[in-house]
């Protein structure tokens, strides 16, 4: 049973995303997906399909070339 | 700035050595250069003397690297300098331009030799004067001084450093082989007697500091790396924050300031030596070694009763247009001896604006003028 508090929270800064989908590719849990929602520049931004599966590994924020996604984990931001 | 290793007194020095000592006296603590006749002795002297005053000498792989290293050292907080001759000077142009754009205080000495190209490496010339003004690309303004003796090489190298700090740009010392390799007495004052312009530091705390907000004289205070100002500077056209701004407006604002900070302060920058201008019929206008040779012709002419004056350029850039224009009203002609085929003579002619003739006495390089050729021109001019 995982309590919400211990859960990692993925944050997307929509305006920075350029829809390259590196994060989608490299998320070990495969819980990121590209939506049809677009930011002001028309890039399709990313969302989390199953947030509970996020382990807080921070792979998404590491492969993101736009500083557009990061993870808030119980022990700080990745 | 440690003063250990600083010397003072009377010395018998070559121009090259005097130039190096002038730099040390001015507080220069970094030299990056590349061997090139006839400036190599400056590097040799610096490689011995800089460690004695706690400075750094590095011989780089070429003149491009030398100029870049000088800029880096200046942003690292040191007064920095390089010295070269024509071929190296040509290689340094792009990074001199970067120095102008980043507004980086430093000194570039050009011990001119006869060009073009490899030319006469060990023999004198003055053919880089226009390159000194316009050698880099784009519109800009620059300061260049022209010493006429080892003593003046000492004094003007100090002045070059002071001007480079005051106006935040590379300042050129345009000398020649004949002076660089000439040995004469050089008096080096004690440290206290030498006026040194310190770097203009920011007057606001780091969080409020922007690298290019100018003071009233159009010159911005300068932060250096490693002091927490966390500034960005770029060769791209930039605004007061140092951010690249790719617009004509930003270009207009920046370039006007870069030029105006020199041109609007020209009277404070320009230095000339005048002798017998009042009542003269003809005035010899020259600089560097050619000015010294001209004094012989002037003495001979005066002995013949000719009223001839001497107008020696100590700052060649910015050029003293107003003063030359004023003199032109009262004389028949300027006689301009220089060791090229007409460079500063073009400026004299432009400034005279037809009020007096401009008679170029060219010399293609490899030697100094024969005073008689200058004397003949003076005689012709007063006919």
């Amino acid at each position: 049973m995982t309590t919400r508090a211990k859960q990692s929270q993925i944050h997307v800064i929509d305006e920075r995303c350029k829809g390259c989908s590196f994060c989608v590719e490299f998320c070990p849990q495969h819980i990121l997906y590209q939506t049809n929602e677009t930011n002001a520049k028309g890039y399709q931004v990313v969302r989390v399909s199953e947030p509970d599966k996020c382990t807080g590994c921070g792979m998404c924020s590491r492969v993101c070339p736009e500083f557009a996604i990061y993870v808030e984990t119980p022990d700080g931001k990745q | 700035m440690s003063s250990t290793g600083q010397i003072s007194g009377e010395f018998f020095l070559s121009g090259d050595e005097a130039c190096a000592e002038g730099a040390l006296a001015a507080g220069c603590r970094f030299f990056a250069g590349y061997p090139i006749t006839p400036a190599t002795e400056i590097a040799e002297h610096m490689s011995d003397r800089l460690p004695e005053v706690g400075g750094t000498y590095i011989q780089m792989e070429d003149e491009l690297a030398s100029m870049a290293a000088v800029l880096g050292a200046s942003w690292g907080g040191l007064k920095a300098m390089t010295a070269t001759s024509g071929p190296g000077f040509s290689l340094m142009m792009e990074n001199i331009g970067l120095g102008l754009m980043l507004e980086t205080p430093c000194v570039v000495v050009n011990m001119q030799r006869a060009g073009p190209s490899t030319g006469l490496p060990t023999m004198t010339g003055q053919g880089d004067m226009m390159q000194a003004r316009w050698g880099s690309h784009g519109p800009y303004s620059i300061i260049a001084l022209s010493p006429a003796s080892p003593q003046e090489l000492f004094d003007l190298t100090i002045k070059a450093f002071n001007l480079s700090e005051k106006y935040r740009l590379p300042v050129l010392v345009m000398s020649e082989e004949s002076i660089g390799h000439m040995y004469e007495k050089v008096t080096i004052p004690t440290r206290e007697k030498i006026n040194i312009t310190p770097r203009r530091k920011p007057n606001v705390p780091p969080q409020e500091y922007l690298p290019y907000v100018p003071d009233d004289d159009l010159v911005p205070p300068m932060a250096i790396a490693g002091e927490g100002y966390r500034f960005h500077v770029t060769g791209l056209t930039h605004d007061e924050r140092g951010y690249p701004i790719m617009t004509a407006e930003a270009q207009d604002k920046l370039v006007r300031r870069l030029v105006d900070k020199i041109e609007k302060n020209r009277n404070a920058i320009i230095e000339v030596e005048e002798d017998g201008i009042k009542g003269a019929d003809v005035v010899v206008c020259s600089y560097g070694i050619s000015a010294r040779v001209a004094t012989v012709a002037i003495q001979r002419a005066r002995a013949l009763g000719i009223r001839v004056g001497m107008f020696r350029l100590i700052t060649v850039w910015p050029f003293p247009v107003e003063r030359v224009r004023e003199i032109a009203k009262n004389i028949k002609a300027f006689v301009v001896p220089e060791i090229n085929y007409g460079q500063m003579a073009l400026e004299v002619e432009r400034a005279a604006a037809g009020r007096a003739k401009t008679i170029l006495i060219p010399h293609m390089g490899g030697a100094v003028h024969d005073p008689e050729t200058i004397l003949d021109a003076i005689k012709q001019a007063v006919k």
């Binding site: 993925i10 944050h11 997307v12 800064i13 929509d14 350029k18 829809g19 390259c20 989908s21 590196f22 590719e25 490299f26 520049k41 990313v46 969302r47 989390v48 399909s49 947030p51 924020s61 492969v63 993101c64 070339p65 500083f67 990061y70 931001k77 | 970094f30 990056a32 750094t56 590095i58 792989e61 491009l64 690297a65 030398s66 870049a68 290293a69 000088v70 880096g72 050292a73 200046s74 942003w75 690292g76 907080g77 040191l78 920095a80 990074n95 970067l98 250096i224 790396a225 490693g226 002091e227 927490g228 966390r230 500034f231 960005h232 500077v233 770029t234 060769g235 791209l236 951010y243 690249p244």
Partner: protein, 276 residues
């Protein structure tokens, strides 16, 4: 169901090191530069370096724009001259941590002479050489590292020149720390950057980075993702590999890892420590 919090700009863990007022940056979607820059900043953060004494010098090109995005003392200098500028900066103030962040063209073509001499002198600095195989900023031209038969906007029928093998080149010149990763090796890259930042002397890390706009598009890897996948499945980790064997061909393996980690006197020599 609210699944992803839409973050305020400034909330990203690296924002304290970034000029967020200049984001989003200039680099194309799928370009690896932002990720490499982020990894450098993470490595700086993790190394607990004194930020006020950490400086970044960049040359000209896509990679050259990196200096403009970091909230450090940063210098965007002329093409090819980041290394000599950084040399002067470091020699003037040995307390500075100097990082040169530039591209393959800037470092190995126009700046090639400075690259081998800075390595020879073992100047104490860390160089991140982002290798995307072409000149990106000017529109995808052939570069000193373009693989043979690689198509570019100035070698449309395929490059016929032998490219540099960067690790081999700087290793032979005397660099005391040389490594290579691709942008698909983010964690290894971060560890290597931390090591390189600690290393005394000339450390260089080559990072193979996608350029979907030019190199990828012209060589059957049209998106950044295609190139990232290529890196992921065609890289072989061979620490201390024989440098002569780590050249990169158009469709071949990419050998990555740490290749050199030796010690010898460096410049500026610390006062008295290594006796120079």
């Amino acid at each position: 169901m609210k699944t992803t919090a839409i973050a305020r700009i400034g909330a990203h863990p690296l924002d304290e090191y970034l000029r967020t007022d200049r984001l989003p940056h200039i680099w194309c979607p799928g370009c690896g530069l932002g990720m490499i820059l982020g990894t450098v900043l993470r490595a700086i953060d993790k190394s607990r370096l004194d930020i006020d004494r950490t400086t970044i010098v960049s040359g000209i090109g896509c990679t050259g724009r990196a200096a403009g995005y970091v909230k450090l003392d940063s210098f965007h200098v002329t093409h090819g001259r980041a290394l000599p500028f950084a040399t002067g900066l470091k020699l003037a103030n040995p307390n500075l941590k100097v990082v040169v962040f530039s591209g393959d063209g800037d470092l190995a073509a126009i700046g090639g002479n400075h690259l081998i001499h800075a390595a020879r002198r073992n100047i104490d600095m860390t160089v991140i050489c982002v290798n995307n195989f072409i000149y990106g900023m000017t529109g995808g031209q052939l570069g000193p590292t373009t693989p043979e038969m690689g198509r570019t906007t100035t070698s449309r029928k395929g490059n016929t020149e032998k490219p540099f093998n960067i690790p081999y080149l700087v290793g032979a010149a005397g660099a005391t720390y040389v490594a290579r990763w691709t942008t698909a090796h983010v964690r290894q890259m971060e560890r290597t950057f931390i090591e390189a930042l600690q290393k005394k002397g000339f450390s260089l890390v080559e990072v193979i980075s996608p350029c979907p706009t030019y190199y990828g598009r012209m060589n059957e890897q049209a998106t950044g993702l295609d190139q990232m996948r290529y890196y992921r499945y065609n890289s072989v980790v061979k620490h201390f590999a024989n440098l002569a064997d780590v050249d990169i061909s158009l469709d071949g393996q990419i050998i990555v890892g740490k290749f050199i980690d030796i010690d010898r006197p460096y410049l500026p020599a610390p006062k008295g420590e290594n006796g120079k």
